[in-house]
Symmetry: C2
Subunit: 529 residues, 2 copies
Amino acid sequence: MDFRGVSLIAGREAARAGAEFRAINPASGSAIDPPFFSATQADVDKAARAAQEAFLLWRKRSPHDRAGLLRAIADGLDAALPELVARAHQETALPEARLQGETKRTSGQCRMFADVIEEGSWVGARIDTALPDRKPLPRPDLRSMLQPLGTIAVFGASNFPLAFSVAGGDTASALAAGNSVIVKAHPAHPGTGELVARIIVEAVRSTGAPEGVFSMLYDEGFAVGQALVRHPLVQAVGFTGSRNGGRALMDLAAQRPDPIPCFAEMGSTNPVFILPGALRRNGIQIATGLFGSFTLGAGQFCTKPGMVFLPEQQETAPLIAELRRLTGDSATFNLLTPGIAANYTRSLQTRREESGLSMHQAKSSSGTCTVSPALLETEIGAFLDHQEWSQEVFGPASLVIRYRQRDAMMRAAEELEGHLTASVWGTDADLAEYADLIAILERKAGRLIFNGFPTGLEVSDGMIHGGPYPACSDSRFTAVGSRAILRFARPVCYQGFPEASLPAELRNANPLGILRMINGSTIRDPLTA
Amino acid sequence: MDFRGVSLIAGREAARAGAEFRAINPASGSAIDPPFFSATQADVDKAARAAQEAFLLWRKRSPHDRAGLLRAIADGLDAALPELVARAHQETALPEARLQGETKRTSGQCRMFADVIEEGSWVGARIDTALPDRKPLPRPDLRSMLQPLGTIAVFGASNFPLAFSVAGGDTASALAAGNSVIVKAHPAHPGTGELVARIIVEAVRSTGAPEGVFSMLYDEGFAVGQALVRHPLVQAVGFTGSRNGGRALMDLAAQRPDPIPCFAEMGSTNPVFILPGALRRNGIQIATGLFGSFTLGAGQFCTKPGMVFLPEQQETAPLIAELRRLTGDSATFNLLTPGIAANYTRSLQTRREESGLSMHQAKSSSGTCTVSPALLETEIGAFLDHQEWSQEVFGPASLVIRYRQRDAMMRAAEELEGHLTASVWGTDADLAEYADLIAILERKAGRLIFNGFPTGLEVSDGMIHGGPYPACSDSRFTAVGSRAILRFARPVCYQGFPEASLPAELRNANPLGILRMINGSTIRDPLTA
């Protein structure tokens, strides 16, 4: 592949006008050729205008047409799998098997949203037929359904160069709903971004979608992203990344003259509660699963279990000894960027220097991005005095918190902030005895996991990948699963319109055969007068 | 009724500690006894703590229990109708017939949300069953549904002393979803507020709901509302009122250490487009309907048509002459408060002094709250140069904009900001010819009305009362209709949980008989293993 290194605006290459930057190979620490060029403010405006122009056409295309684009993108991703994996591996040091799986997940997500919009029920069509003779007032004919918002600014994530980046879930769900998309590519994997963007541009051309429906902008800094979120034509934001980054965009979106929705998924520490019965039953076997989960992807998952509550009982010391052994014997990991590696090392350093927290870690390696996993340990009393220990450490580290008093553990649970997930290991007897713990966790997380670990995220109808702030900017939505499309759509109601002027979804004949709520009953039948 | 004049916190009377204020009778301009007392910061905290404590119980009550509270409130409202109407009439000068209708609408809304939660499908239950043999990875059992957010701060509106106030749609939908509610009562109708709050308190007692599930706080100023939106235990906000007020609360909610959703419905100017065929067909008959709509409720509806686009043709001058006649001959109206009346007079004064805008108005009356309706007129050219004329004037005024060029009207439509509604009068031929206008309006409003006026809001499944900013803080939600409950709930996913630990809505047996999406199919059947 001959990389061009420039932003792609409505299918055309931008000029090499902005600051130059290169990807860094985390395994070697050295820069990868060729250079990439940041977009300019003029590029942002150009992309936004093209996106708006395309949106006016795209929102009126049939679900079948829109699904065609998504499937063409999926096919393109699958066809380019070896090339994508090779370049993403260079840019992220993530294992090739993982990147193969992630590519398939990414194309699978595009196909899922194609299916969702062809099935069509996601629009939530509702029809209340006219009651002209009702007293004291007649009821007009009212029909409503979800429609797209406009242009969505999508921010690629460092830790998922495919599934949460240029053609990731935000892009796929936004396009599916009928929106235009402008992706701010993550600067840590610009080559992967270009490969994917070219696949999308080609799919746009081959399926006859309006060209401005997709653009991708580069920036090694923050100016392009900020300009996007502030642009009057941008109508919503999808972001996956750090809390600081997400909050900055949330604030920008809220401070606009016309505030717009900003969906930011900002990660979390994903508490795990090992209950007494499960600890007796599973013993040190839990160590293997836990260690595997908190070091999976070098601990760079939003769902990494970073906080584990362990009761003091016979099995506790052996379990911790096993965790220490696994941690100490572990190979090193290459983190995604020098910045992430430096943050990881600094976070551990700060924690190591604090009393009440002990750490086990193999010797650190010397590479720019190379780190060893770390097991942090403390007692519940010290933990309750140090709220800051519950903050996410991005990388292969986890904190074990031992407790003797059930009350103290329950207090810690009640004091949790919002998380993406909360996991509970237990027997049926544990579950009965700790129903109050489950009731707390339901208020703290978007997904509760029983006898499992939180990493490994199914993309399905039932999945929720969200949760109360600071895990997410708005707990009423999810970043993953078919429900994710609801972030980028709003209901519009038609009162008294003749059949011919209604969207197909709301016509009596129900030509798309979708599930609709008609006078309170949810059915797939046409409406007969 | 012996008014106590104090806030009600979890069923108990607050002390008379804060600033004293009285309602004003808009018809006479004089203060009404007895005095009411503003709540204190300590009261806010007390209400929030009681609400949180109650929430932990309330959220686990069955839909049937929660519906019982809503129906008891509805019965209480109906039983107190004469007393409510009498007091509300004193405090608002709204006609008694309107207040009777509004009381019935308010009890009707409570019963609608009772029905919605008993029917149960609103939780959007989704079940993806486990696929233990799937390659390369098994799929876990995933089940998700909507759950309540916590404590909701509800702000009563001045212009709906019942339907958008203490027991209004925000309160009813929030309680229905399983939240606690703290209402900041509108200080213009405190007596009506107390009557309704006592009905709710009695309903809470008689149905055995936890007492803290409802509180009502008074404040003649802004401190209590601000403290509520900032309180760490408050999890969302529902507001109906002015743009300034709504934006202030949106900003407070967004600036919290943990931002919370703030649903603010801030009104709009509700453009009306009279297309050429309809003008030929309906002629000056449109004047009667339009005048009736923009003066209904003294023009104090969020959906008042405040902006009317009229093509220049034979029927235009007679239509405008008829509008002038109706306006000039009109009786006076009493607005809700001296402040609203002063704003109305000031807004008209400002507009009258601007060139390009002419005004017809009968002589103003001398009462504190008494005003005459006003018809403002301009040409499209001047209108396009004065964006500020499209702002809402709260009260019985409307602006007619005449145009000769279709293009100029289309440009004005494209430049509209967000509105709650947009109305189009047309023939079938008009609709075909102006499909591009409809396509613009779909992006500008929450509800489109064909051959009708926007006032008169059906409370139903299909209704949308929302729209892009500044009509609404978040166009993805509605303030009215059964969908309004979605503002105050978030999805929670359960992975791998045994049947006994799942909420009833997600159990295999489907004991509540609700509609669920099971492996992609939406059905009401139980799930058999």
